[in-house]
Amino acid sequence: MSLDINLKKGLKIPLKGKAEKKLVHAKSSDSYALCPSDFHTHVPKLLCKEGEKVKQGQPIFYAKAAPEIQFVAPVSGTLTQIVRGAKRRILSIVFQADGKDQCVKHKLPELSSLSADDVKAHLLSSGCWPFIKKRPYDVIADPAQTPKGIFISGFSTAPLAAELPFVLEGQEADFQHGIDVLAKLAPKVHLSVAAHDDSFLSSVTAAEIHRVKGIHPAGNVGVQIHHIDPISAGEVAWTLGAEDVAIIGRFFSTGIFDPTRTVAVVGPVVSNPSYVKTRIGAALAPLVSAVGLEGDGQIRIINGDVLSGRAAHADGAVGFYSNTVSVLAEGNRYRMFGWLPFVGPNIFSMSRTSLSWLLPKKNYSLDTNMNGEERALVVTGEMERVIPMDILPMQLIKECMAENIEKMEALGIYEVAPEDFALVDYASTSKLEAQSIIREALDLMIKEVG
């Protein structure tokens, strides 16, 4: 057991609809899809045509800028459709499962006999590589680099996010094997667990375990890196989702790319929020109908948590990186005199301008309403309250908006990812879009600095 990290800043948003720790059975879906937009900055180059039969684990496309990074089919069946948008950009690649479960099987020697380069080659050819992301920039890792460490967060603090120890139940050996594989790639593997974690995660070997105490965003891997071993200019760290470590471990013990994943389906309008066993790319609709919806209003289905997830279409699919599917009511309604402070206990606010502070145990049915309009930046100090890092968020955001690369570097742009600023989006009085400002700034850095 290693260092304890105690974070005080942040915000716990008491959102209604947390998943009960039980698995519900969803009707297995026939339709699967891969969305290249999950892989930020990468342009897909197709390896298959419409109508072609594919096996589970067969490469479907590769990254134009890095051809060695391959993306594989999550299921065996037929590639039925390539959905294109403006300028023929590929929006999604749709598969029809045939239920035969034909898989591409890789022959793998003993892990102990593999070098780092062998491990990389196997990860790349199996389609597991895209699980590994890098900081800075929060994009898929570059196989040519060696990171100073690999960081995995063993707990999530985002509102309603899946509980990782539960999600990994039954996959303990896969997870440990995955850690052993990753330990080949970097001098150190860091695994952060919640302060009171008593799951198998605390006894994982070959990784340095860090106990982290705190509310959201303490579970964000970027925040943890900042306190364990911060990233300076020129350094690289890799990150993975805990459930993806298990997928990698499974691949190295079976030779099969098996994207099975337990997903939490949550949200205030979900009648029976719980966990569903499914796989990457599975259609979202059967998952949502398995847990049921309350009311018949307009809803928004989100791949990921409500703070940094991405809105999905009704015919969307489980995202490559998401272990949570959140459902919110659309908030396109007017509220008369809704800005009046100290009225009504149903508006949750970090500031005490609502009476929500009187009801610390209450959970709220928040929707997607902006609760106000965009304004000039006036209020100070609120961003600092939700960023538990030695970063000046307001100053960094302003330099990002000014595209002042030198200052962005000096203020720590390499240490942050959009998700670390999700609470700034949430808390901003001026309804600032901090996540997209940070994303654009990181893209600018990729272009200018690389």
Binding site: S232, L307, R333, Y334, R352, T353, Q395, A422, D425, A434
Partner: protein
């Protein structure tokens, strides 16, 4: 929702691509006052906090109200007491209201007209900041100032101190204090001396409207107890006199998290420390004026609670807020003690620190940058 449908009908010609599209911000300002709009999140976090700028600014106004209402009452109270007339609570309130409400109306009228014009000209929504400024301006003026001076000061402050710098969120100086400073230097006879601080003092000979700090600076004795100064039954700018009701406002600001407690505490500590030092020195009347009295007299409490905490013109970093607050307190007492021409130091102290706030923040930011550079250098030079 009937009302909603009517508003939507009224707004039709202001929609995108319609005839009066340019004037949409002006109409939206009224609409969003009635209804929080139906806008939903499109990028970034899918849920948003209940707080917005309207809610924040209205909270500040609520925090101002105790001091404002007491100020209205005190205006009448000072007038009736000094002129020796019998009066009731309601008489005092009515006298004050008749004096002050026109000032509030002029302040809001002139200021909002300029704000709306700039919003339409620049094509952005009307920011709510002026809702607070518009109330603050009359609260820090002497009661007998002519209405046209209020209007002119407001116009100067909004145009020169705010819009010239880019509007809400961009200004260097606190607009309300700029309005007061403008009136102070442009029309000194209406803004200082011993004839302006009590209603009708310049018309009725029997009334002497001198402030405590004014008479101290002139070398006179003070006839008020510390209790009077704390409760606020003394002459002064309209709403600055009652420390008690200012503290009530401070409690609201700190409790809701809308006002920075660091600036307030820093200000009080800075002023107390400086005043204690001068107490020990004691070379003139203002130096030996007890440090506790310094904290409750004049506009110090009002300034530190409502003016210094303006987030736009104050320091913006957490550490910077402490330094900024402390220096506001220090300079306030320095100006009071060393500059008999300006017996009230808090206005100039805050304006001065407004100017230096970006400098304070600069050093805090540099500190953060240096820590990061140091770490980078440590990783570049391998440990031996």
């Amino acid at each position: 929702m009937n009302l909603r449908r009517r508003i939507d009908a009224i707004k039709k010609p202001f929609a995108k691509g319609e005839k009066w599209e340019r004037f949409a911000p002006a109409v939206n300002a009224f609409d969003t006052f009635l209804f929080v709009p139906n806008h939903t999140t499109h990028k970034g976090a899918h849920i948003r906090d209940g707080v917005d700028l309207k809610r924040t600014m209205v909270t500040v106004i609520i925090a101002l109200l105790p001091a404002f209402i007491y100020g209205v009452y005190n205006t009448g109270y000072q007038y009736f007491v000094q002129s020796g007339l019998a009066f009731t609570f309601w008489d005092a309130l009515l006298h004050g209201a008749l004096k002050i409400m026109p000032m509030v109306a002029v302040s809001y009228g002139v200021g909002l007209a300029i704000e709306f014009a700039f919003a339409v000209y620049r094509g952005h929504e009307v920011n709510e900041g002026y809702l607070v400024t518009g109330l603050l301006v009359p609260m820090i003026m002497p009661v007998d100032i002519p209405l046209w001076m209020v209007g002119l000061s407001v116009a100067f402050a909004v145009l020169i101190a705010k819009e010239a710098f880019g509007g809400t969120g961009m200004n260097i100086l606190n607009p309300a204090l700029t309005a007061r400073a403008f009136a102070f230097f442009a029309y000194p006879t209406y803004m200082s001396g011993n004839k302006v601080w009590v209603s009708e003092a310049s018309n009725v000979d029997g009334i002497s409207g001198e402030t405590i700090l004014g008479s101290l600076a002139a070398g006179n004795e003070v006839s008020y107890s510390m209790f009077d100064m704390f409760m606020g039954a003394i002459p002064g700018s309209i709403a600055e006199t009652s420390t008690l009701w200012v503290l009530a406002g401070a409690a609201i600001l700190i409790f809701t998290g809308v006002g920075s407690w660091r600036i307030m505490v820093g200000g009080v500590l800075g002023a107390a420390a400086t005043a204690i030092l001068f107490n020990l020195w004691g070379a003139n009347a203002l130096m030996s004026f007890s440090w506790l009295n310094h904290l409750v007299v004049g506009g110090f409490a009002f300034g530190v609670v409502f003016m210094a905490t303006d987030p736009v013109s104050a320091a913006q970093t957490t550490k910077g807020k402490w330094v900024y607050g402390l220096l506001v307190g220090v300079f306030c007492i320095l100006i009071r003690v060393f500059n008999p021409a300006y017996p009230e130091g808090v206005m100039l102290a805050i304006l001065l620190m407004n100017v230096f706030a970006p400098t304070i923040d600069h050093y805090v930011v540099e500190g953060n940058i240096k820590r990061r550079k140091k770490r980078l250098n440590a990783t570049l030079t391998p440990a031996t």
